[in-house]
Structure formats: C-alpha cells, structure tokens
C-alpha cells in the first residue's frame, strides 16, 4: 500500500478511547497509512466530509451520537469502506451496522494483525469496485465463470442448483464483505423469508460440501457467528 509513487492512503478513525486510538494509529502508521483521529461522531463526520478518506474506522459506542447514525449519514453520499469496531456480545449492533452499510467489523479485543488484514482487504476491494469486470473468480481449487455460469473445482464441473448458484454469485459479488443473514435471505429467497435462517444454514452446508476441501473447517465460505457469512478471496 505504501507505494512511494502514490500518496499515502488516508484513514479517518472515529473512536473515543484515547489508548485504542493510540495503538491503532501506531500500527497503521507503521504500515504507511495516514491517520486522522476523531473523538466524537459529529467531529468524525466533518473530517470525513472535508478530507474524503479512503477508509473509515468507526467505533459503535460513541459518546455523542450512535455509530449507526454515522454510517447512515456517510452512506447518504459516499461508498467509502467502513470498518466497525464493536464490543463483544452485541451481535445485534453488528448486524444493524452491516445492514446500514458498514463493510466489515472487528470485535474488541482484536489483534493488530487482524486489523491490518481487514484494512487491506477493504482497500483492495474498494480499488476493484465491480466484480462483474472480472468475470472469472478463483478461490482455492474453485473457479467460477460468471458469464457462462460455470463452476469448476480442480478443473471438473460442479453442478449447483439454482439457489446454490444464486447464493454463490451473491457471495462473489460481495467477496471479502460480511453478508448478514437478512441480506442473504432477502436477496436469494425473497423478502418474505428473512426469518428462515435455517434455509441459509442448510444451503451453506451444501455449498461447502461441493466447494470446500474440508467442509467442517471451511476456508473460503466462512461463518461470522451470529452475523452472517463471508467469502474469503485471497
């Protein structure tokens, strides 16, 4: 990322704990990012509006306004990637934040390597905005040709049902992002089925059996406990 020919990537960090800001700043700066800190949501929104960052790191528990409000506000005019920091035990908050338009989340306590990996993945995704531009997707031994709707594994064709394929296509279109249960159910089964999470569980297990090397320890189609699923593309 810290390519010398390009200006450094700018990240706005909205977080009220000074010590957490401190280590995040230290870690990201050592990786060549430029950081702007903000203690409150309102201040953060001003920073985002004036500086046009490449990424926002947002703590959900802010002293002045709800983090969800910040997401909605930003999403009103920008597609800039948003990474959420949230406390444990608040799956609902995470889901709400993701449904409001956040791209990914980290649960406290988190490690710096995890943080860096997420930041890089989000920036990479933002740099390649349209999945449709790359009609051939590869992960592991699997290759998906979106134009011909052809899925192969180790060169052999894999037969997917209509729903399995729709699910996979949706995951691919959002590769690297967490898709909430609600989003997946709505887009694949329709808005009346958003409560039937067991459909999703069963179809995910079908997909994993067909595409993963070890479906019990999935590497590509990962589960985000209580939140949703993510397709990990390296």
């Amino acid at each position: 990322m810290s390519d010398h020919t390009q200006p450094a990537m700018l990240i706005v960090m909205i977080e009220d704990e000074p010590q957490i800001r401190r280590f995040i700043r230290a870690s990201l700066e050592s990786e060549g990012f430029q950081i702007v800190e903000s203690e409150t949501g309102k201040r953060g929104l001003i920073e985002v509006g004036t500086r046009r960052p490449d990424l926002i790191i947002l703590d959900l528990g802010l002293p002045d306004i709800d983090g969800i409000e910040v997401i909605r506000d930003v999403r009103g005019w920008s597609r800039v990637p948003i990474l959420i920091l949230s406390a444990r035990d608040t799956e609902i908050d995470k889901v709400t934040a993701l449904d409001a338009g956040a791209d990914d989340y980290l649960t406290k306590p988190f490690g710096v390597p995890e943080l860096l990996a997420r930041v890089r993945a989000l920036l990479r995704r933002a740099a390649r905005p349209h999945a449709e531009d790359a009609p051939l997707i590869r992960f592991g031994e699997v290759e998906v040709d979106l134009v011909r709707r052809l899925v192969t594994r180790r060169g052999e064709e894999v037969h997917l049902t209509v729903i399995e394929y729709r699910l996979l296509a949706l995951l691919i279109a959002n590769a690297g992002r967490v898709l909430t249960h609600r989003t997946l159910l709505r887009d694949v089964w329709g808005p009346n089925q958003v409560e039937n999470t067991h459909y999703l569980r069963v179809y995910m297990s079908y997909l994993r059996r067909k595409l993963e090397e070890n479906p019990n320890v999935p590497k590509y189609i990962t589960t985000e406990s209580g939140v949703g699923y993510r397709l990990v593309v390296t």
């Binding site: 306590p109 710096v112 209509v162």
Partner: protein
C-alpha cells in the same frame, strides 16, 4: 379499615342541619388524630331534610366533603328516623363513640333533641356533646313532618280500635254542629292515619270499625245499628269502599317506601363492600370484608376457600373454618364451576367465585340462626357479592404477578447492565495492552528479536487473560440463572466449524478429524452458546494432551437424541475425576501449569443442560478421554426441497 380497628375509640359524627356541624366535624377529626382511631361522618337523609332550603343541604354536603378530606369515611344514608339510622350505622361499623352537637332548646315538652334520643335509645354507645356557640338555624316548618315508622305485631290492633274510639268520642260533641258528611270525613282521616301508621290489615279493621261506629253513634236512630233512611246505606257503602281503598293505597305506599329503604340499605352495603374491596391489599382483607358483608346482609357466617398452587382448595388466609364446611364439596363446585344454586350441602351454601379469566375460589355460607331462608332479594345480592369478591381476588392475583415480573425484569436489567459495565471496563484496557504490544512489534525502526519476542509474550498473556475474563463473565451470567438460549435451527457442521475457527492456533499441533454424517438433522440450539461448548471442549483437549494427539469429533442420531462425541487418544482423565471435572474451579491435575480457572467444563455443562441435554466424561478403553454429549433431537422445521436442477440449464446463460 373499620374492620380491624379497635371499636372503643372509633368515632361517628352525624352531619345534620344543626348550626355547629362544622365544629363537630373538625372536633372529631382532631380527636381521631389524637387517638389514631378511625372516624366516620354520615348524613342521614330524612324526609325532613328534603324540606330544608337548598342552600342548607348544599352546606351539609360541603361539610361531608370536608370530613372526607379530613380522613373520615363518609356515607349518605336515608331513613325516617335519623336517630335509629345513626345507631344502626354505629353498631354495624363498630363505632363506640358518637359525637354530636348540643340540642336546640326545646320548644315543646315532648320534642326531644337528637342527642337526647340517642342517649335514650343507645345506652351502650358513648355520647359526646359539643359545647354550644353561635348561630341558630331556622328550621323549616315541614321539618316536623315525618312518615311514621310504624309498629308491628298485635299491638297495632288495639291501637287501631283506640283511634277509632277516640275519633268517635271527639266527634260526639260535634254531632249537633257538624253535618254527618263531615263526620264521615273525620273517620276517613282516622283510617288514613291508621294505614300510614300500622299498615294494611289495621287499615281494613279501621275501615269496618269506622263504618260501624258511624252507623251506631251518629246515624239516626242513634245507638242502634238500624238505619231508617235507606240513603245512609249508600253512605256506608261509599265510606267503606273509600276507607278500604285509601287504606290499601296508603299502606301499599308505606310498604313500597319500606322496601325501597331496605333495598337502598343493601345497595349501600354492597357499595361499601365494593369500595373496601377496591382498596384491599391482601387476601386476608378481602376475606374479612366479604365475611362482614354477608354477616350484615344475610345473617350468615361465611368462609372463603382459595386454590393453592396445585389447584387444591384450602381455607383462604384469614378465614376460619365453619362447622359443616366440606372442602371436598367446595372442590367439586370449584372444579366444575357450577353454581350451586340454593341447594345446600349439610346446611352450607357454596357459591363459586368466578372472575372473567379464571375461578378464584369458593364462598361457603352457613346461617347463624337455626332457620334460614334466603329471600328472593338476598340470592342475587349474594351472587353479586361473590362476583365482587372474585374480581377483587383476581385483581390481587394479577397485581401480584405484575409486581413479580416487574421485579424480575428490574433485577435482570440491573444485572445485565452491571455485567456489561464490568465486561467493558475489563476488556478495554486488555484490548489496549494487546494492541500496544502488537504495535511495538511493528514499530519503526524495528525492535530487536528478543524485544519482539517479549511483545508477543505480552500479547499472548493478555489473550489468555481475556479468555479467562470471558469465562468468568459467562459463568456469572449463567449463575444468575436466567440464561435463556436464543434457539434457532442450526447445522452441527457449522457450529463445529465456528469452534474450530475459534481454537485455530491452539489446535495447530493436534490432528483433528471431524466426521459428521451428511444427513444429520438440524439442531435447535443457541449457536453462540453451542460454539462455546465445542470451543471449550476442543480447547480442553488441546491443553491437556501432548502435541500430535489425535482428536476426533463424531456424531450420530439416537432415538430422540443427537449424540456427539469428542474423543482423544491422550493420557485420559485422572481416575475418579470424570464427574468432578464439570464442577466449577476444578482442574484435572492440581499441579498442572496449564492456565485457567477450571471454568471451561462447568460452562459446557451449564449450556448443555439449559438446552435440555447431558454431557459425560469418561476414559476410553483404548486410552484417552472422551466427552459424550446428548442433545434432544426435536422436530426440525419442514424444508422446501428444491427441484434437482442445474443452475446453468434452468436460468440460462
């Protein structure tokens, strides 16, 4: 509550047209405040009262309102005889002292003041008279008009005869001066008077006697029953008919007035009961109020049976048993909800207490006297009172439930906010420490190898601490008892996958093999909690077995259960520890250097049990430990099967 109060100091004030009524009320309030005893203020609406000017009656109402504000229990009663009503009220409410104003000066020797009459008729009640001062109110002339209160029994007949004799004697000297027609009028007046005073039968007697006396003493030839002039026969006939009709009408009116008065008293008693029931705070009070009411209106003793938690009837708190009351009979009426009607079982009448949503108990009554017939008016009254008692019991029941659930919610809310505060305050610094240690190892210029090693050690220790804090907080949550799993239908595969991802690095040096049948049914579990179960079990296996150990996870369906087994071929569990492992703060090997409080397996057991399952640890015959879980299989929801079609052909390119 008048019911529980000592009657000795309880006060009654009658607010009347007298001039010192306000002083009386204020005095009573003062006295009640000194003694702490309850006090009542009543207005008795006598016919005389209606004759008072409106302003005076408004004033009386205001005084009553004042009394209510000063803490009196107030009532408006009606009756002919204010003194009798006041005495009855005092006895009924067990009020020992009557506070009255000073009587007005007598105008005539037979006019007795209110206080004087009270003293005469109720020698058992204490009477306090206030010192007089100030104004005198002019009493409207009609205030003397009274509807007579009427005697009863045989004495009415001689009195009737006496009246007729008196009229005859009075009329005798007037015979020469008055027309006979006017003398007839005097007799008719006597009949009306008798009807008003003594009722129907004496009126009939008076009618006949009057006609006879008139004939005998006044119609010529006098002092015989013979009549010379035939036209007097018409006079007799008309006189008799008029006397009878007027007598009947008057007596009927009197009867109706008495009935209305009785009904009014019952209604008032009912009203008082419902007001008291509305204020009752315990079953005991409700029982007492109901008993008092029935005693007063039906002259019967009552007891109330309420169901216990198993639905069996027991005597309600505060009600004592009555002879002849059979709990079995009450139970059958309670169970079937049948109104027992007027049928009595061994002299006891049972009435079910039915509230809109449920049966609240049974009311049992027994007459105090030997002979007891319920009148047509008493039965509906009993029904109404049973309904009122049932409603009061039900209100109490729901109030109790609401209070309980509110308290539970409140304490749960408090616990949750306390736990999240602790969890936040512990985790934030731990996150910072781990983060700073990470940041140090990435610092520019880079640290030396050993410094980076130290930074990593700090981070790893913090990670351990975080796990332990999480375990402690989870245990605390479970200990508080209200851990309600958020169940959803889930594949075991996914739960194990999550646990494996969670244990990641820990299991790197172990060989884990997971073998789950593809057709294993869905489980109805809380994903987050179950993930903890398997992470803890896998972590446990990883921590307590040497690197290279094989860990296997298998599952299968058993009659109504899903069995899941996590086995290893490590050193196994120390003998005798198999069950104790699941206790809190227990560790397999005491000298162990492995970090942890020994909470992991206790959490496993708590979560499995809250899902209705069991967990068991044992050593395998071929060596190594084995944890065996049984979870209820339940009935997974139907799943719309997708037609087996290939995405490429059905939706086209």
């Amino acid at each position: 509550m008048t019911l529980d109060a000592p009657s000795g100091e309880a006060l009654l004030v009658c607010v009347g047209p007298g001039p010192d009524r306000e002083r009386v009320v204020r005095r009573a309030a003062r006295r009640a405040a000194q003694t702490g005893a309850p006090w009542h203020a009543i207005v008795i609406e006598t016919p005389a009262m209606f004759a008072l000017p409106d302003a005076t009656r408004d004033r009386i109402r205001e005084i009553l309102e004042l009394a209510r504000r000063l803490g009196a229990q107030t009532a408006t009663l009606s009756g002919d005889d204010a003194v009798a009503v006041a005495i009855a009220y005092a006895r009924e409410h067990q009020l020992g002292i009557l506070l009255v104003g000073r009587d007005r000066y007598r105008r005539l020797p037979w006019q007795h003041g209110f206080a004087e009459k009270l003293a005469r008729l109720a020698p058992d009640l204490e009477l306090l008279q206030l010192a007089r001062d100030g104004e005198e109110v002019a009493v409207h002339p009609f205030s003397r008009m009274q509807i007579a209160s009427g005697g009863s029994g045989w004495r009415r007949y001689p009195l009737t005869i006496l009246i007729v004799v008196c009229v005859t004697l009075l009329s005798a000297p007037l015979h020469a001066r008055l027309d006979l027609a006017n003398i007839v009028m005097l007799f008719l007046l006597a009949v009306v008077f008798v009807a008003v005073k003594f009722g129907r039968a004496p009126a009939v007697l008076a009618a006949f006697l009057s006609v006879a006396a008139f004939d005998f003493f006044f119609v010529p030839p006098r002092f015989t029953f013979q009549v010379h002039d035939a036209q007097y026969l018409v006079t007799f006939g008309v006189m008799l008919i008029v006397a009878l009709v007027v007598g009947q009408l008057t007596a009927g009116l009197r009867f109706q007035a008495t009935t209305a008065l009785r009904r009014e008293r019952r209604m008032h008693a009912l009203y008082e009961m419902s007001r008291d029931l509305g204020r009752a705070l315990s079953v005991k009070q409700i029982v007492e109020i109901g008993r008092h009411f029935i005693q007063q209106t039906c002259n019967a003793s009552a007891t109330i049976c309420v169901p216990d938690s198993q639905g069996g009837l027991t005597l309600a708190d505060g009600s004592c048993s009555l002879p002849g009351v059979d709990l079995g009979a009450a139970q059958s009426i309670f169970d079937h909800g049948q109104p027992a009607g007027t049928d009595r079982i061994a002299g006891v009448l049972y009435l079910p207490l039915k509230a809109p949503s449920r049966a609240c108990g049974v009311l049992a009554l027994r007459a105090d006297g030997a002979d007891w017939g319920l009148s047509r008016e008493q039965l509906p009254l009993l029904d109404t009172s049973a309904t009122l008692i049932a409603l009061a019991l039900e209100r109490l029941h729901y109030e109790h439930l609401a209070r309980d659930s509110q308290m539970r919610m409140e304490s749960e809310r408090l616990r949750n906010s306390l736990l999240s505060a602790i969890s936040h305050d512990l985790r934030t610094p731990l996150t910072v420490i781990a983060g700073l240690a990470d940041a140090m190892s990435l610092a520019n210029p880079p640290l030396s190898e050993s410094q980076i090693g130290m930074a990593h050690a700090i981070r790893d220790e913090v990670a351990h601490t975080i796990t332990m804090v999480n375990n402690l907080l989870d245990m605390a949550r479970m200990q508080m008892g209200n851990m309600v799993p958020r169940r959803e239908w889930q594949t075991l595969e996914e739960i194990i996958g999550l646990a494996m991802a969670h244990c990641g690095v820990l299991l790197e040096q172990h060989r884990v093999s997971i073998d789950l049948p593809e057709d294993l049914p869905l489980l109805e579990v809380d994903t987050g909690l179950m993930e903890r179960v398997f992470s803890n079990l896998l972590e446990n296996a990883a921590k307590h077995t040497p690197p290279g150990t094989r860990i296997t996870v298998t599952a299968w369906r058993e009659e109504g259960w899903i069995a899941i087994v996590i086995a290893d071929d490590g050193p196994g569990i120390p003998a005798g520890m198999e069950q104790r492992l699941f206790e809190k703060f227990t560790r397999g090997r005491h000298e162990s250097t492995i970090a942890g409080f020994g909470l992991g397996l206790a959490i496993v057991r708590a979560i499995v049990e809250v899902h209705g399952g069991t967990v068991r640890a044992e050593n395998r015959a071929e060596g190594g430990a084995c944890f065996r879980l049984l979870l209820p299989a339940g009935t997974p929801p139907l799943f719309p099967e997708e037609p087996e079609s290939d995405s490429r052909h059905s939706e086209g390119g």
